[in-house]
Amino acid sequence: MEHGSFSDNSAATFSLTDEDHTLANSVRFTLNQDPRVTFSGYSIPHPSQARVNIRVQTTGDPASEVLKDACQDLMLMCRHVRSTFDKAVEDYKASNAVKAMKIDSKEEDSSDSEDSE
């Protein structure tokens, strides 16, 4: 739900239901990073009601476009985080598997072995 003025669509307040700080803070961060934005912020009108108001003011572009771009950026960041994380976990598991094999072979080689960690 967008509250703005018909004449000037560069500033608007977006009221999202069923949302809280989780999404609003991240969207506010990506909005701030956009150079077209002069002001962005969010507020929660009442903590018992799951509603968030996000305010966007831009240097001329329509506010809804800028918000959409910010959400797209956030989605792409999430995808990148996910792929980097998966790759890091795979690398860790692979290197651990190699280490475990090396430790096994070392234990086999030394007949009376002390603690080998």
Binding site: T22, P35, K68, L74
Partner: protein, 381 residues
Amino acid sequence: MAEQDEGRGKEKKFSIWDLPDVPMGQLPPHLELQRTRVLCNKDAPIHTESIQYSGAYSSIGVDNSVRLDNFCNNFRVEVIQLNEDDMVFDMIGIDAAIANSFRRILIAEVPTMAIEKVLIANNTSVVQDEVLAHRLGLVPIRVDPRLFDYMSENDQPNEKNTVVFKLHVNCKKGSPRITVKSDELKWLPNGSELVKESTANSDSSSKPETYTYFSCSQESVPEFVKNPIAPKYPDIILAKLGPGQEIELEAHAVKGIGKTHAKWSPVATAWYRMLPEVILLEDVKDDLAEELKSKCPVNVYDIEDIGKGKKRATVARPRSCTLCRECIRGDDWEKRVALRRVKNHFIFTIESTGALPPEVLFTEAVKILEDKCERVITELS
């Protein structure tokens, strides 16, 4: 920026940025310190907010925005420890807002299965019905919640949205007291066995109606044949029975999220901390070095010999620093040691309760944030 006297043609245009030692397009070091580090002083930390506004340094010509390609180039993940139930990993190059969103989603919005409805046939123990039902709800169940659907109020409980457990324990008269542990919860892959008492005309030919409507056994799913559904920990005490007491009940587990009730939270907890940075501002020698090393309770500092019997303190393990600030407590120590935190380096710890392994949990949490963004985008267009 530069002041120019018009009309005085002889005056050359002078800009301080042309001086050879001013770094171009970069922040001066004290501002860079403010932007990227939290300074943990003796009384309170300063510069804790992250400077997110893209035009924050526009007056000196520095662009503060992190464009997507910059982010993708600078972002790194390093896994430090990965076990079956917990993991520790580093995320470098991300902002606190997004790291906090991941933490919130891990705790409250990743779905799990937990016992919700308990049909009690007989309970003569000292543990009341509702207390026993509450305890059953908190038992973590080792099943992948992605294989199930949510159950709303109008749905019938069927094999796609319910897991049924049975608990029947009896302590005979004359035998000692027994403790009911969670391994007594037996999985019923064919659905409920308690028969509903229907009122007048019950069709005598077909099977009696039970509380769930399973059209096929859950054992037909190969995943459940390999890993049968059971509570993750078999030694959780549910109740204690004296002689002559009996508990007979059936528990239905459904899918839910931690926001509704904490029993559906998939993590014991998940937290992050910023990487601590310990800097020695001046050389700490000899006695002072010994004193510094003994002050720290987690052994961040080490002594190294620099010859001629002189010793010097070095920072060996800044990562284990708990910021107890013991090393800056006495007089004058604040000018020798600086404690800081790196604002975009987060050490995440995730402890799973067992339904999903921790790396899968984090991936699911990121997917859920993506879904939220997509929902906003579709609402806007």
